[in-house]
Symmetry: C2
Subunit: 314 residues, 2 copies
C-alpha cells in the first residue's frame, strides 16, 4: 500500500510562519520523521512531500536579485529535503527500518496559458512600503498587492500542477524500496512547451502532492498540518468539526466556499481530486499523529463512500 505524506511548510517554522534557527528546524523535522517511520512499520510504502512557504519567503526576501522564484523553489527542495532525509535516516536506524530516504529535486509542469499567470494571488516574501514596492515593480516587473498586515507584498501566480517530470525516477525508487522525498514546495514550476524553462510562480504543495499521488496510483494521501480537524463554519459560533466526509459532501462544502483559498481550500481540493482520480481515502490532520489519523482518532477523513451511511446504496 502506497501513501503520499505531505508535510506543511509551516510545520517547519515558528509561530507566525517565520523560519526558525538551524537547531529549531532540525528539531521540528523530527516529529515528521516519527510519522513516516510509524507508517512504514505499519506496512506502507511512503513518499514524502513538503511545503516551503516560510522558507521560500525568506529566500525571496534575501536573494531575489540572484535567484528567480523557480531557482528559490529548487533551493528549498535541497535545503528542506536534506533536513527531512537526515531525520528519516536517524529515525529509521533507531527503529531498525532498513530503508533509505532520497531527495529528488522535482520539476512540475504547468501551462503557460494557465489563467493564474494573468491573476497572481499568492503572497511571497516581505512587506514593503509603497516607494520600494513601486521601484521593485519597475525594476523587476514584480506585481504587488496590499497585504492586510499593512503594506505591499509581492504576489506571484499559483498555476495548476499538470505533471511531474521526475515521475519515472520516483516510480523506480519506490519499486526498489527507497523513501523518496519529492515535489518539495510543490516542485519547481516549469513550462515544457518547447524548451523546458522555469517560471516565476509557486505551485500549491497539496495539489502537487495529489498529482504525484494519482500518477503513482497511490492508495492514500495524508496531509499533515497544524490543525486537528477541518472545520465547517470555522471561527463562527456554529463551527463544526469534520471527522469523516464523503467526497461528494466535501465537494458541496468546497463549492459553498467553506474553506479559505490560502489555507484549507487547496487541501480539501487536493483530497477531492485525489479520490476522483482513483485514490482510496485522503486524510488531513496534525503533524506527529499520522498513525492516529489513519485509525480515525483525530483528523478529517475524506472517503468515497461512508459505510455507516446508506445513502450511496440507494
Amino acid at each position: 500500500m502506497l501513501i503520499v505524506v505531505a508535510l506543511g511548510g509551516n510545520a517547519f517554522a515558528r509561530e507566525g510562519g517565520r523560519v526558525g534557527s538551524p537547531e529549531e528546524q532540525i528539531e521540528q523535522v523530527r516529529l515528521a520523521a516519527g510519522d513516516v517511520a510509524d507508517l512504514i512499520e505499519d506496512g506502507f510504502d511512503v513518499i514524502v512531500t513538503h511545503g516551503n512557504g516560510p522558507q521560500a519567503g525568506l529566500l525571496a526576501e534575501r536573494v531575489s536579485d540572484y535567484l528567480s522564484l523557480d531557482m528559490i523553489d529548487a533551493a528549498t527542495e535541497g535545503w528542506m529535503g536534506y533536513l527531512i532525509a537526515n531525520a528519516l535516516t536517524n529515525e529509521f536506524r533507531r527503529r531498525g527500518i532498513r530503508r533509505s530516504p532520497v531527495v529528488i529535486v522535482t520539476r512540475v509542469i504547468v501551462n503557460e496559458k494557465d489563467p493564474a499567470f494573468q491573476n497572481p494571488t499568492k503572497f511571497v516574501g516581505p512587506i514593503y512600503d509603497k516607494d520600494t514596492a513601486e521601484r521593485l515593480a519597475r525594476e523587476r516587473g514584480w506585481v504587488f498587492k496590499w497585504d492586510a498586515r499593512g503594506g505591499y507584498r509581492r504576489v506571484v501566480p499559483s498555476p495548476e500542477p499538470l505533471g511531474v517530470m521526475e515521475i519515472d525516477v520516483i516510480r523506480l525508487l519506490l519499486r526498489e524500496g527507497f523513501v523518496p522525498i519529492a515535489v518539495g514546495g510543490g516542485g519547481v514550476p516549469v513550462i515544457a512547451n518547447g524548451d523546458v524553462r522555469g517560471t516565476e510562480a509557486v505551485i500549491d504543495k497539496d495539489l502537487a502532492s495529489q498529482v504525484l499521488a494519482n500518477a503513482l496510483n497511490a492508495d492514500y494521501l495524508l496531509i499533515l498540518t497544524d490543525v486537528d480537524y477541518v472545520y465547517l463554519n470555522y471561527g463562527r459560533p456554529n463551527q463544526t468539526r469534520l471527522v469523516k466526509v464523503t467526497v461528494s459532501e466535501a465537494e458541496k462544502y468546497y463549492n459553498e466556499g467553506q474553506f479559505p483559498p490560502g489555507s484549507m481550500g487547496p487541501k480539501i481540493l487536493a483530497a477531492i481530486r485525489f479520490l476522483r482520480g482513483g485514490g482510496k481515502a485522503a486524510y488531513i490532520g496534525p503533524l506527529g499523529r499520522a498513525r492516529d489519523i489513519l485509525r480515525g482518532l483525530v483528523g478529517t477523513q475524506v472517503v468515497m463512500y461512508d459505510y455507516f451511511d446508506s445513502k450511496h446504496l440507494l
Copy 2:
C-alpha cells in the same frame, strides 16, 4: 564506459567569482550541457557533479542566520542541480538523446576527528571589518582569518570526503540509464558516527567527485574548469603546460608544491587518487570542450603509464 564530469562552480559565475543574474546562470550552464551531450553521443554513461563556491558564498553572506553551512550546501545542490537538469533536458531533446537527468541531493560522510576541523582554511562569504568579525565570532562561534583583499573573512574546515550516503541510489539510476547530478558542491558534509548530522564545513568538489567515481568504478574523471591546461611553474618565466603526465609524475609535482591548495591542488590530488583507486585516466581542461579534451586536443591528461615512454617497462 562511465565518466564522472565535474563542473567548476566558477564556471557558473561571472569573472571574479560573483554569481550572475538568473539569465546569465541559465546561459552559463548551457555550455556544460553541450559537453555532457557530446559524451553521451560518444557512448559514455555520465554522472555530473558541480562546485558551489560563489553560490554558497552568496547564501552564507545573506542567510547564515537561518541556514547552517550544511543546509546552504544542500540548497545549492537544489538550485544549481535544477539549472543543470533543465539545460540537460533541453540539450538532450534537441539532439534526440533519450536520457533523463536526475538531481540527487547528496550527503557525503566526513570524520569528526579530521584535522581540518582544528584548522579551518576555506574562505566562505564576504569580507567583514574587525568589529563585525569579532561580534560574529562571539555570537556564532565562527572563525575568521585575514583575507589579503583587506578584511576578515570566515574560514571553515574542508574535511576529507570518505563516502557517499546516496551511493546505492546513484548506482541504480546509472543502471537504468538516467544521468545523475550528484555531490553538488562536494555534497553536504555529514558526520555519521551515531546519528547522522550536518557539520559546518565544505567538502572540495573535486575530491568528492573522485570518491564518487572510485566508488562506482568509473573509467574516467573529467574536471572541467576555466583553464586550458595545468601548468608547472605557473606564472613564472619557465611556465610549462602539462599535456600528458603519468600519475607518478603528477605525484612528484604535487609533492613539490607545484599546484596552489585553493585551486589546482585539489584537482591534481583528485586525479592522482582516482588513478591510484583504479581509474583509467583523469582529465583537466576547459568547460565547453569535453570532446576535445578526451581526444587530447586541449587539456591535461593524467594517465597510469605513458605508452610513448618506455620507463614503466623497465
